[in-house]
Chain length 200, copies 2
């Protein structure tokens, strides 16, 4: 039993090493130039180890991004809920802005973004597996704010999320302005003004 | 004099043919696979005609996009100003949504977008030559609305433009929702709610 556990722990370590190597290589050489050989060499595993878990290069690349928002306990996408939607969204948006301002973090995501823009099928897979669960977690927090009278109960929550995130996304993608905490705060302020409850 | 005029008119026709051929080829084969040879063949001119006006493939591609918003009279980027900011923005945003929903129109822009995301220098050139003049025209219209008391005079107009356009940009880029007239209208409504004049 100890052996099986040790072996499973070694497997998980290999898996994590492969996913980390994949993200590092995408940052360094770009998505199209990443090869299974290079991933295996960087992770210190054999090619067969990779093929045991993933059918293709696209699959391992995709999982390497999925792993960024997933822990051993499952996806980590719950938003803080202190009862104060403004404070909670500012925490989340400041963290998001800081991540996208960090070259180490943003480089592989930029590479993935280019693939998504070019490839409608990858875009659909991305939406289904990554964006949608995260959006659902965000909407759960917005619904709680609607119930608390801090957000228009009739608001289209997909539109709320677009107004909140798309400006930051576009600014990051086009490098058209700084991604600061002040900017993050201003997006929260704008969104809450646009979608505040009618009577407030 | 008639000869010089005729020759200049023929030159302008060749120039326009080259720019149109460039956009068509980008749509068909993608930015990276477009060659000066292919552009020349499609436009019915010699390669030397292209090199007479443009130093590189990048330069002709860039001008082919610039030409989309430029007429013989100069850049055409003035926004309607009937005195009603809501009506005027809805005209503009509906037209924008319709353009990006049109595969013929959006395909070359998507190809350019990928280059911009990958290439900070091209992104800077794009901002300077194309995005900035257009944004300035939009801001002129917003300033007129501020003077008319239809928009918060303290609003950050860069932020207003981001809130108005970035959701549509992101939805187009990720193909994450329909680009309808209703959607265009809702972005105008949201933006005006977020940035309305304090007393109104």
């Amino acid at each position: 039993m100890t052996d099986a556990k040790g072996s499973s722990r070694r497997s998980e370590r290999s898996r994590q090493a492969i996913l980390a190597a994949t993200r590092a290589l995408i940052s360094e050489v770009g998505y199209t130039k990443v090869s299974i050989e290079a991933i295996a060499a960087r992770a210190g595993v054999g090619k067969q180890t990779i093929y045991r878990w993933w059918p293709s290069k696209g699959a391992v690349i995709f999982d390497s991004f999925l792993a960024l928002s997933t822990t051993e306990e499952g996806p980590q996408v719950e938003l803080p809920d202190t009862g104060d939607i403004e404070a909670d969204l500012k925490v989340v948006m400041r963290a998001t802005a800081a991540e996208f301002a960090d070259p180490e973090f943003e480089r592989p995501i930029r590479a993935l973004e280019v693939e998504i823009v070019n490839d409608p099928e990858l875009a659909a897979q991305f939406r289904e597996k990554l964006a949608r669960p995260v959006d659902e977690a965000k909407k759960a927090r917005l619904r709680s704010a609607q119930r608390a009278g801090q957000l228009d109960p009739g608001a289209d929550l997909d539109l709320v999320l677009e107004v909140l995130y798309a400006p930051l996304f576009q600014r990051w993608l086009h490098r058209s302005g700084p991604l600061t905490a002040e900017y993050a705060d201003s997006l929260v302020d704008v969104t809450l003004r646009a979608f505040r409850a009618p009577s407030s």
